[in-house]
Amino acid sequence: MSVLAAALAEVAPTADRLSRLSQRAYQNPYAVDWPSTVEPEADWFGSPEYVSLFGTPAWSELDEKGRRRLAFHEAAGFYSLNIHGEKSLMQGLAARLYRSDLTEFTGYLHHFLDEENKHSVYFGGFCTRYARVHRARQLAFTADRPRDVADFLFFAQTMIFEEIVDHYNRVQARDRRLHPLARFINDSHHRDEARHLAFGRQLVGALWAAGAPWPQEAEIRADLDRFFTITWRDFYHPDVYADAGIADPWEVADAAWSAPAQRAHRRRVSDKCLRVLTAAGVLTEEPTDAF
């Protein structure tokens, strides 16, 4: 039996419960009433405190319209990084559907895959109508790893990515300053992610325990450390800054990444995820370069 099959057997009651909830929450992603146009300089499309330049000198230099314009393009950047993250996630989920050792757990994987696809319909709907889908800056050439290690890293990285973006979704879904469409997209994502995260937190802990002791422990930890950093780096996207009319976008991205206010923001948003990974024994220290 693979480590993943053993871990899934342990979390099967949770997966069954979440499958029932997914069936009840089933959504039609094509029923959105998209406005014909939006006004990036008149409405907030992202919470200003969650804009990647917030608390930096570049933010101070922007007037109110400029801040809203940046928040709009950053919303498109945030939705784009979700699209690219979900593409990788869907590939990983599809690769595990009906795998011979996982057939009895396929039900929840189907829901997971279906819901990720719907999120991308929402995100893509916004970006293609009003802005653009920003290019991915992440790629991973296939690494030759033992299957158990690949399974663990896939679900652990999925959890890290979803914990971070869900924090943004949760905050922005409740932010009454935001345009209703932005609130809707964030809220819709958050409702599904709450189930995925409940599953992910249990599964990652069970996977780690089922495979212990891991001969590749140091390499796994190093990979998760790097993953934290590259996930966060994607929030500082030079193309977003260029679209918002900001000069020297690469320099601005670097300066924002290093700004004390942004380092504190990343640590705060990552806190819950780090606590889950530390409590499970997966990580023993916080990621070196992410904060």
Binding site: R135, A136, F141, T142, R226, I230
Partner: protein, 81 residues
């Protein structure tokens, strides 16, 4: 855009951060000797974008593009490379 010597120097600094005790040259196959692994690629791409001042289309990349510091200079050494 930075000059070739500046890009080369920045790449050497980046690689040395990950090389530990492993000796490397500009021709070392960094992925074969596992000084770098696929998890490092996004960070490396961001570094190269900043150094050359132009975006990199990740959909056009091959693992061989990052084989060595020399290979990276050849592939990404200029804004239109």
């Amino acid at each position: 855009m930075r000059s070739e010597p500046e890009i080369r120097s920045a790449l050497r600094t980046y690689v040395s951060r990950h090389a530990g005790d492993v000796a490397f040259t500009d021709q070392t196959a960094l992925f074969s000797v596992r000084v770098l692994r696929s998890i490092h690629l996004p960070e490396l791409i961001m570094l190269l974008e900043r150094l050359r001042g132009a975006p990199i289309d990740v959909e056009q990349l091959r693992i061989g593009d990052f084989d060595s510091i020399d290979a990276m200079l050849t592939r990404f050494g200029g804004p239109h490379a």
